[in-house]
């Protein structure tokens, strides 16, 4: 069995303002996630805005140092005390996809330059090999090199650009791709293309995904495992369908009950005569 991802007592504290009036924000509060598997898996991290999802992604990607605790990806210690992964080796293990493809790419650089850079710097390929690797990765996301070559970000739609980001991340054949809200900037009707693509890539490329989202429905659709974050705490973790079909934690139940689903109407158990008021959650 391989450790796909493990976080051990992971904490991240942000300190705002200076002494003596500083405020501490516990963005990650003792987060313990452990997934071991022989096959690639898709792990979703769900939670509302501010729950710590992006912080978790950044700590795993070594873009932020954890305050304490450690992270293991593919049996390697990548973050926390004593973690000194070789940079190239790390980039062959973990690759990111970001939320906004328009800001992830510089508007004055062509998309193929990013792909080329990943192929030559991370995989140390020569020019001909790099082009071959780029062609292969683009084909996996349904794009052709000739249609991408020499084009700037604003010549693509959001969905196509996000597919190009996926292609870039695929070039090193990483064990784990970390996708932070990868579809929230894409028109709802076209989100499933990226979501299904992750499923196909899991099979075809044997890549695991950490899919970070506030959308429980897509998380339900693709996940092998789901982690629910609330105010930096991992409130529930488990097999995907189980977590969302029989949630154990009150917060997971609240989230589920708040989704405008097509199953049960809220009005069924709405007391029209009760005073209007507001829940504490909605004023927070």
């Amino acid at each position: 069995m391989d450790t796909i991802l493990e976080t051990e007592g992971l904490n991240k504290e942000f300190v705002l303002g200076g002494f003596p009036r500083s405020i501490k924000i516990q963005a990650l509060n003792n987060v313990n996630i452990s997934v071991t598997s022989q096959k690639p898996v898709i792990i979703s991290v769900v939670g509302e805005s501010g729950s710590g999802k992006t912080t978790l992604a950044k700590v795993i990607l070594r873009l932020l140092q954890p305050t304490s605790g450690r992270v293991i990806v593919s049996n390697q210690l990548v973050a926390g005390k004593g973690a000194k992964p070789d940079k190239t080796e790390f980039l062959r293990t973990v690759q990111p996809i970001f939320q906004n493809p328009f800001s992830a790419f510089n508007r004055y650089r062509t998309i193929d330059m990013y792909l080329y850079e990943t192929a030559t710097r991370v995989l140390k390929l020569d020019q001909a090999e790099a082009v071959r690797a780029i062609e292969e990765a683009l084909a996996a996301v349904g794009l052709e090199y000739k249609d991408v070559r020499g084009k700037y970000p604003n010549q693509f739609s959001g969905g196509e650009l996000q597919r190009a980001s996926v292609a870039r991340a695929l070039i090193p054949h990483p064990n784990l791709i970390i996708a932070d809200e990868p579809v929230s900037m894409i028109d709802a009707s076209r989100r499933m293309i990226i979501i299904n693509l992750f499923l196909a890539l899991k099979q075809e490329y044997k890549t695991s995904f950490l899919y970070i989202t506030h959308d429980l429905a897509t998380a339900y659709y693709i996940s092998d495992y789901i982690a629910v974050l609330n105010h930096g705490k991992l409130v529930e973790f488990g097999e995907g369908k189980r977590v969302l079909q029989s949630p154990q934690h009150e917060y997971t139940k609240l989230l589920l009950a708040s989704i405008p689903s097509l199953n049960k109407k809220w009005t069924e158990d709405l007391d029209w005569n009760a005073p209007i008021g507001a829940t504490a959650e909605s004023l927070a």
Binding site: E204, G277, A278
Partner: protein
Amino acid sequence: MIKLENIEATYTTVRGRVKAVEGVSLEIPYSIILGIAGESGCGKTTLMKVIYGDTGFPLELTKGSVDYGFENDRGQPVTSRNIQREWFRNISYVPQSSMSSLNPVTRIRDQFTDFPATYGRKREVLESVREYVQELGLPPESIDAYPHQLSGGMQQRIMVALATFFHPQIILADEPTTALDVVVQKDILILLMRLQRMMRNTIIFVSHDMGVHYQITHKMMIMYAAKTVEYANTDDIFKNPLHPYTLMLTSSLPTIGDERARTGLPGRPPSLWDPPQGCRFAMRCPLATAHCHEVEPQLLEHLPGRFSACHRVDAIPELAAKVWRGPKLSELANDQDKLIAQVESALRADETEGAAAAAALKEEVE
């Protein structure tokens, strides 16, 4: 009843003129929540602006008019010509984000009293505003705050309070909860439903989230490429659609507990700069025939209260049954080749009309 008669709304741009709403006619009964759905760019916001009477360069009402079904205090029928005089009092607007419409440098309370309806009786109005926000679950002192001092959920509650304070006949809400997390969204939506039921006003509600429509609306209008393609009771929209586009909208996204494989809506709507002749949905429609590509279907009442613009309404139940019986994701996932083939075909379809979409997006980005 609110009557939209052959509405055509046009934007004037450096590139020329584009019709963002075309030939929309609709009778909306009073005291219901009407949902408007459709992919982005299909004209929902433009139609809302027309109904609010918020036209002005670059947007123009080039054809048709709205008859709101009530008279103003001069005894004249209220129509597109004089609707602006009814703002706040008889028609109000809840925007997508309070950021763009609450004045950041004005205290909330001044935003309640900053229009003609309250001149000369500010103190009295303020007292009832305080009472009213309290009824809506907000601390009364929240109206003394500046917008940035309130959380997103509180701000949106204030927006609802502002929009309903004068008990207007008509409330327009354009994606009012899209920027909120689900827990707060549910609270705001339930608040809107309860106020509507109490005040018996008409809410016209735009959202791209079909789940939200299912939960709160009574009737729905489905828009595609500047036109109405279906108009019916919400339950029929979901259970007995009479247009293939409606079926695709309601069944293309995953829902919790449903194990079917979902493809989303591959392909794109046609460019409004150069709409195709015939049915605008034909390029993406699994039922399209040569006739569909040539002759544009009209919006007709095929069954009582159920309107659809489609030549092949009779073929839809069978299509729906097929879609609803579709394969489970787990079946596909075990058959790797099938899954990959399906993804590949979706990726290819995503490129249809891709050039046009990219050009449109490019314009937006610049």
